[in-house]
């Protein structure tokens, strides 16, 4: 390597190019979406022509607006977190505090696989199990909000496990030893010292998991999301959701106004996911 400067210049030129390509690609996508989506963002997009208060208090059903899809997505997030949080956090605590190293290895491998399973596989699993139960046990059971939420929970549990485990493991050893030195049991130490100390980090991980369950489309399209269902009123019925609405409209739109609605929906979904991301970032930042 005789010519130092030429290699140096080439390497930094290459790095600059790559960074530029990526940045401009992202900005193009976001700009394109904002350019087309912003004009369709208004109350009519969400509520159609139904009066806002009537729609919010469920006096009137909203037809043609995005309200059912937004509430569907929120219901999905809420339900999937209801299932995923206790199990995920418990598993994370077990891995970091109780598991022996052999157990930790086996479980770690399983959760690595769980985390990288394609979401469509999880969706197919949920769908097949539902059909199986429908045929043999519960005649009334169809793909529905509950099934989707369970599948989404399966999808995000490994993320919650990972962030809980890392948050607890990265606590300084002094903190870990003080409680037991004062006579606290393992559980007391965990409950009064370790979990509160790690809480912010754990919450940051949870919020990112919420973002994943808000955006996932592959799971819900197999397990109960439908094109029109209205605001969800039962966990045993089909429902609308933002990501599915975007996918469905992109494939089936009949006119420009429907397409504009999809742009609006994409923008709203982007705001939800981006907002959650920023929130998680803010919390994590406060930890340091």
């Amino acid at each position: 390597m005789k010519n130092h400067s030429a290699v140096d210049i080439f390497l930094s030129f290459y790095a600059w190019c790559c960074a530029f390509i990526l940045t401009s690609a992202v900005l193009t996508i976001l700009g394109y979406l904002l350019f087309h989506g912003l004009s369709s963002l208004n109350l009519d997009l969400i509520f159609a022509h139904t009066p806002v208060m009537d729609a919010l208090f469920l006096k009137k059903q909203v037809f043609g607006g995005l309200l059912p899809a937004i509430t569907g997505t929120l219901a999905l997030i809420f339900l999937s977190m209801l299932f995923a949080l206790p199990v995920g956090i418990a598993t994370g605590i077990f891995l970091s505090e109780f598991a022996r190293s052999g157990t930790r290895k086996i479980l770690g491998l399983m959760f690595d696989i769980m985390a990288s399973l394609p979401s469509i596989v999880v969706g197919l699993f949920g769908f097949a199990v539902t059909i199986f139960l429908h045929q043999h046990f519960f005649k009334q059971l169809y793909p529905c909000l509950l099934i989707s939420a369970l599948c989404l929970a399966f999808l995000v549990i490994p993320y919650i496990i990972r962030s809980t485990q890392i948050a607890l493991e990265s606590l300084p050893p002094q903190v870990r030893l003080t409680g037991p030195a004062l006579g606290a049991t393992r559980t007391q130490n965990l409950w009064y010292v370790l979990i509160p100390m790690a809480a912010k980090e754990i919450i940051g991980g949870i919020i990112l998991a919420i973002g994943r369950s808000a955006e996932d489309t592959a799971v819900i399209m197999l397990t109960g999301a439908v094109a029109t269902a209205g605001v969800p009123n039962s966990i045993f019925s089909g429902y609308e959701a933002l990501p599915f609405f975007i996918y469905y409209t992109a494939a089936e739109y009949a006119n420009t106004s429907e397409l504009m609605k999809a742009y609006g929906a994409a923008l709203i979904l982007l705001f939800i996911c981006g907002g959650l991301y920023l929130f998680a970032y803010w919390i994590k930042r406060k930890v340091r």
Binding site: S12, Y14, L22, Y32, L33, G88, L109, A218, Y247, C273
Partner: protein
């Protein structure tokens, strides 16, 4: 209260093993439902034959090939750019600008895949159609371009992490000897960090194979064997999403489990390789 250690431990243990066995349960379930199909015809045939339900042929060969084409092409496009971007973050501009760029990359992970797919339909597909004046523009190339954007943040973050995990003593020593940044990178960092880079490539490829929406929305979904990057193709994941036959007992539906099993096993292979590469670092 909370004086007893045994009960909480048992609860936590149950949750952990429950999750793990559920993951294993998915594998068993998929395998169990695949057996009738695999038994009815040769396994080799299932994996290589075309998909012609009308003639009773349920081969998933085209989908396997479609998945591979799209994933490999997107990896070929994303890997060099991600590599350069990681160099930018860690070596070219390690200061404010690099940090800012890293935040941008991290924020990219929050963009929903369906949004990428949606924009792809209206931005990339017409572009490809007009550039190559062939077909509808819904092809392997379009899907791979969009997919490369989806997988690059994962790769960049892992690359940059593995570059930064090279011991400080090494980099300081080589700097003290008067090496330029390029020399430092080529002689010290690359030999130390290549396993992390390999891990990044494996995980990026895994994300590409596992993604459903991009391929489903912009690769066209025809069931022929793809021959050219401007051909339309269907991936394994999109295939599962598209065939929603109501008849649970039909052969058509059962082959979906062969697709899912293939994806599951591919995932396992990826995880094993990624862990093996990560361990020896």
């Amino acid at each position: 209260m909370l004086g007893n250690d045994r009960i909480p431990k048992i609860c936590l243990q149950t949750a952990a093993w429950g999750c793990a066995s559920l993951t294993f349960g998915v594998l068993v379930f998929m395998a169990w439902l695949s057996i009738p199909v695999l038994r009815a015809s040769d396994t080799v045939h299932i994996l290589t034959l075309p998909w012609l339900p009308g003639q009773g042929q349920f081969g998933i060969g085209p989908m396997i090939l479609g998945s591979l084409y799209i994933s490999v092409l997107s990896l070929i496009m994303a890997a060099p750019v991600s590599f350069g971007a990681a160099i930018f973050i860690r070596i070219t501009r390690p200061g404010t600008l690099g940090k800012f760029f890293q935040h941008l990359v991290e924020a990219m992970t929050a963009i929903p895949t369906v949004v990428y797919g949606f924009i792809g339909i209206f931005l990339i597909v017409p572009l490809i159609r007009e550039t190559f004046v062939q077909g509808s523009g819904m092809c392997i190339l379009s899907a791979a371009i969009m997919l490369s954007l989806v997988i690059s943040p994962t790769m960049i973050l892992i690359f940059s992490q593995s570059i930064s995990s090279v011991p400080r003593q090494y980099t300081i020593a080589v700097e003290a000897m008067g090496a330029t940044p390029a020399q430092k990178f080529l002689m010290i960092i690359l030999p130390c960090a290549w396993k992390g880079i390999l891990t990044g490539l494996i995980l990026g490829f895994g994300r590409a194979v596992g993604d459903t929406l991009i391929a489903l929305m912009i690769s066209g979904n025809t069931i022929d064997f793809p021959r050219h990057i401007l051909d339309s193709a269907r991936t394994l994941t999109a295939h599962i999403a598209l065939v929603t036959a109501a008849d649970f007992d039909s052969m058509e539906f059962k082959t979906l489990f062969v697709c899912a099993l293939t994806l599951y096993l591919l995932t396992c292979v990826g995880v094993f390789f990624a862990r093996a590469a990560g361990k020896r670092q």
